[in-house]
């Protein structure tokens, strides 16, 4: 042991005069900018999807109702309440948050004598709720997929000359990846008119349990072939994933399930209907509402006959929606399952011509009217009377029937909804086949950002060569001396509705255009053809603005007559399906009540 080794340690006495390194006021010491402190939640951005609760490994989060935040489309109104007796500050809830509303402050010191004070809803009144600093995730969320799995579609050049289906459908691998993105919050279920069990059937795709998936589909919707293709998919508009990325492709996943289950297997999975009850129900119109009601009633054991005026069942699904969106064989499979439940569909049987309402009433315990909207409306601007001006629904029906429809090299379509797109794209295909080129001009009142048609319809129409002129109001169908159509004169639309919200387009007359064309097609809406009712019944029924008046249970003012679907409510297939269920339920309640009475 040298002397040096004894003395060296004493050199540290130099620190005696150092300033202390301790922090004088540890309470109140600001934490780092990224510090994971007490949560913050932007309550106006939060959609109450509950993924924060789902991921919390401590069970520290409850979803609770907060005054002033009610459920609405795509938003449950619930807010996370955090129990800080359990929270471990891992911030997975922040990372998984679908909207980015949940973040953290860098506040970490808080003293309170009431333990329950440490269980609260962030974003209400805590002092740090608006602090800038604190943990936020870097960039967009990474804990669930942002981007939708691409759907294979035919290229415009390949699809324009024919009516082949455009969308390919997901492969199993693609479907699993897309289904994986769903966080199972269930916000979409309320938006779906039929309240389909969307998260559950998406889970079935993930689990590759297509049998379960199909059963789930049929619990709420016998038209999954159809809705898997052409549903207006409002569910996707309330998907939690859309706030930071693409919504889940709910519609394509539904189609994927139905694609994976062969027809015979579907009937096996659904099982036999209940024992016959001996009750009989007549349904007028084999569209989605009527056939859904027929399906439900037949499943319950009631005898159902569907009367269809046209040659085939399906209603607007067949005669309105073009084949390239919904192939007829797909529709036939959906209808086939319904028929397999014992539903009798009498086609080419027009009520009022081949059978009367009175007969139906006499021979059945109830009659359901689901006649849809098959009469095209007209703009009634000058020049619409006479040859060269057609209505979209009429043309679409004739195309489905395989008739040769009038055609021109340059056609002007009036309307900005899906029907307008359907006819524009159908005529484009016929033009391509006939003339080798597309010549379609489409004018609509709405500006392009407020089109009623689905955005993908607008995109695909343009891809196929349809020229779209938005915010144009039709003024006159121009005709030459011989009365032949030469084009459509329009003014620019300044506004569509007046201050009270009534339909009253205002135009800028200085901005006038003439869209050349030797044919004009009106696609501005449809009406129900109620002539089948006959004068007496028409007189007896109560009406509401030109529609048969119904109550919330789809009862008309006549106790034996019920009505549903587009003719009374609308506006799309899935709504018609929902209506079909509802009207079937009402009919069954009525039948059951009578059972008790007898």
């Amino acid at each position: 042991m040298g002397l040096r080794e004894v003395l060296t340690p004493f050199t540290v006495w130099k620190h005696v005069f150092d300033d202390p390194v301790t922090i004088k006021q540890p309470i109140g010491r600001p934490a780092a900018e990224r510090y994971r402190g007490f949560h913050q939640n932007d309550l106006d951005t939060c959609i109450g999807c509950g993924t924060c609760e789902a991921i919390c490994q401590n069970g520290a989060i409850d979803m609770v109702a907060v005054a002033g935040y009610d459920p609405e489309k795509g938003n449950s109104g619930l807010k996370p309440q955090i129990d800080y007796g359990r929270c471990c500050w891992c911030a997975l809830c922040v990372d998984v948050c679908m909207t980015g509303s949940l973040t953290m402050s860098n506040e970490y010191t808080w003293v309170d004598t009431d333990p329950d004070a440490f269980r609260f809803v962030p974003g209400l009144e805590e002092p740090w709720k608006d602090d800038e600093e604190g943990y936020e995730r870097e960039g967009k969320r990474v804990l669930s997929g942002i981007e939708r799995i691409h759907m294979e579609e035919m290229e415009p050049e390949a699809r324009i000359g024919n009516f082949d289906e455009i969308v390919a459908g997901y492969s199993r691998a693609e479907a699993i990846l897309e289904a994986d993105r769903c966080v199972e919050c269930g916000l979409c279920v309320a938006t779906c008119p039929a309240h389909m069990s969307i998260p559950d059937y998406i889970a079935a795709v993930r689990d590759q349990d297509y049998d379960r998936g199909l059963q789930l589909l049929y619990e709420t919707n016998p038209f999954s072939e159809v809705c898997g293709r052409v549903c207006t998919h409002k569910c996707e508009g309330s998907c939690a994933a859309l706030h930071e990325g693409d919504p889940i492709a709910i519609r394509w996943l539904k189609r994927h399930i139905i694609d994976e289950v062969p027809f015979d297997r579907r009937i096996e999975l659904i099982g036999q209907p209940a024992e016959p009850t001996g009750r009989k129900v007549a349904i007028i119109g084999a569209g989605p509402a009527g056939l859904t009601a027929a399906f439900d009633l037949a499943r319950a054991g009631h005898g159902v006959v569907v009367y269809e005026a046209l040659a085939h069942a399906g209603g607007m699904m067949r005669y309105g929606i073009p084949e390239y969106r919904l192939p007829y064989d797909a529709l036939d499979r959906d209808i086939g399952v319904i028929e397999a439940m014992g539903v009798e569909i009498r086609t080419n049987c027009r009520v009022g011509r081949d059978v009367t309402m009175d007969e139906l009433r006499r021979d059945h315990d109830a009659v359901v009217l689901t006649i849809g909207l098959h009469m095209g409306r007209s703009t009634r601007v000058p020049g619409t009377e006479g040859a060269g001006v057609e209505k979209a629904v009429d043309l679409l029906r004739r195309i489905t029937d395989g008739e040769k429809v009038p055609l021109a090299e340059q056609i002007v379509v009036i309307g900005g909804g899906n029907v307008a797109m359907d006819i524009a794209r159908s005529m484009a295909r016929l033009q391509k086949a006939e003339f080798g080129k597309v010549g379609i001009t489409l004018t609509a009142l709405e500006d392009i950002d407020h089109f009623l048609a689905d955005p993908e319809e607008v995109v695909e129409s343009r891809e196929e060569g349809v020229k779209i002129f938005d915010a144009r109001g039709p003024q006159e169908v121009m005709r030459d001396a011989e009365g032949k159509v030469t084009g459509l004169r329009t003014w620019r639309v300044k506004s569509i509705f007046d201050a009270e919200g009534r339909f009253a387009p205002a135009y800028d007359q200085s901005d006038e255009r003439v869209h050349a064309g030797s044919m004009v097609i009106e696609a501005i809406g449809q009406a129900a053809d109620t002539s089948l009712l006959g004068a007496a019944l028409t007189e007896a029924l109560e009406w509401n603005r030109g529609r048969i008046k119904i109550d919330t249970a789809f009862r008309t003012s006549e106790p034996w007559l019920f009505a549903a679907g587009d003719a009374v409510k609308g506006p799309d297939v899935i709504s018609a399906v929902a209506d079909g269920h509802r009207v079937a339920r009402t009919v069954m309640e009525k039948l059951a009540a009578r059972e008790v009475a007898q």
């Binding site: 042991m1 080794e5 340690p9 780092a32 900018e33 994971r36 401590n58 953290m104 870097e138 990474v142």
Partner: protein, 392 residues
């Protein structure tokens, strides 16, 4: 000079099962509990000593004071939900749990963490190692009555915790290494602030050299004390600095390079005497290696790049059936995660392999007989034990 020589004649006779026949009634032996709350114990653990005079004839390690059943808890959590709890297995150096778990999940799920994340993980692990050694250098001084080293090292560790805080958002449980990558990028100006910490650390370490490693009292009490025969290394599963102090350059950073260690320039510190002093010097040298590595990493790491790989939706992340073992060189030796999956969304089994498991149990119990009571604390601390690794 005085040195303690065990007197084997005091030992009771072993019974037929090889166990010592200690009859406390004779009054010759005394049971002495060191811990679970004792300044010479790191963490919540105790050593049950049987002493005869001031010589220890038998020692048994007791753990379980902090048992939380982590491995069982992990089986009840989804793969992402395991992430927040793994770090809690080891307070002073939690990052190895995060890294090993994340890498094990990535291995079985077939995911590759991006390059930036690999560098960041290496940085985090070296920062954690640095902090762990701060605990050691403070602790070994404390175990020998040198209180000031503990205070200095705690201060320096606190400065590093400040860097952890600004980088990861937390001081102790960083929860920064997610399966798939890391949670974020370096904050602006981080390199400069880190350099200040490393500078300060080096100044304090120089003081440690003077006050501890050059201290005759420290040397006298640690040199030749607590010698581990290198022949015991393999039978007792000795790894890390405990083995390096006995001349075996075991270091997974070199032996089985992971993350970006193959792109970094460093030497593995060794010593030859395999006593408490040697183990302390190896760790002292390791701190310097970590400081150098942190500087290298900050210089070499990419400035940008994705922090996370694409991972499946964590809310229903299922991993196919399989098993893997991911290891790394933590400040105490080989740290590893053995992960078994069964195709569900939950781990079938996770086993945490902490170096203290062998060091503080079988090895310590083997080393204790024949030591002086007053050396037990230094011996135990010199093995660098973190009890939660044992009881998990």
């Amino acid at each position: 000079m005085f040195s303690f020589k065990p007197d084997r004649s005091q030992y009771p006779a072993p019974g037929p099962d090889g166990k010592l026949q200690i009859d406390l009634e004779t009054g010759k032996y005394l049971k002495l509990w060191q811990g679970p709350n004792h300044p010479g114990i790191t963490g919540n653990m105790s050593v049950e000593l049987t002493v005869c005079g001031d010589e220890v004839v038998e020692g048994k390690t007791h753990v379980g004071y902090l048992h939380r059943g982590f491995e069982k808890l992990m089986e009840r959590r989804t793969f992402i939900q395991v992430f927040p709890i793994v770090c809690r297995v080891c307070v002073p150096e939690p990052d190895f749990n995060e890294y090993c778990y994340a890498a094990a999940v990535e291995d079985l799920a077939g995911i590759e963490a991006p390059e930036y994340a690999q560098w960041m993980r290496t940085l985090i692990l070296e920062m954690g190692r640095f902090n762990s050694y701060m605990m050691f250098l403070g602790g070994i001084g404390g175990a020998l009555g040198l209180g000031i080293t503990g205070q200095w090292m705690t201060y320096v560790r606190d400065l590093m915790l400040d860097r952890f805080e600004e980088l990861t958002g937390a001081r102790i449980y960083h929860m920064f290494i997610l399966p798939g990558g890391v949670r974020g990028h370096l904050p602006e100006g981080f390199e400069g602030r880190m350099e200040e910490v490393l500078d300060t650390a080096e100044r304090y370490l120089a003081d440690i050299d003077r006050v501890m490693f050059s201290n005759s009292v420290f040397k006298t009490r640690t040199k030749g004390v607590g010698v581990i025969d290198p022949a015991l290394f393999e039978p007792y599963g000795v790894t890390g600095p405990n083995a390096r102090a006995g001349g075996v350059a075991k270091d997974l950073r070199k032996d089985s390079p992971y993350l970006v260690y193959d792109q970094l320039d460093f030497e593995v510190a060794t010593a030859t005497d395999s006593d408490i002093f040697a183990r302390a010097t190896v760790r002292r040298a390791d701190v310097q290696t970590s400081i150098d590595l942190i500087r290298q990493i900050l210089k070499k790491m990419p400035k940008t790049g994705p922090a996370m790989a694409k991972i499946p939706n964590v809310l229903h992340w299922k991993i196919p059936r399989g098993e893997t073992y991911i290891k790394g060189e933590c400040s105490r030796g080989e740290y590893g995660y053995y992960l078994v999956t069964d195709g569900t969304g939950y781990p079938r089994r996770i086993n945490v392999r902490g170096p203290s498991y062998t060091h503080a149990m079988a090895l310590l119990e083997h080393l204790i007989p024949g030591t002086n009571i007053s050396d037990v604390a230094a011996l135990m601390v010199s093995l660098h034990t973190y009890p939660p690794e044992i009881e998990r």
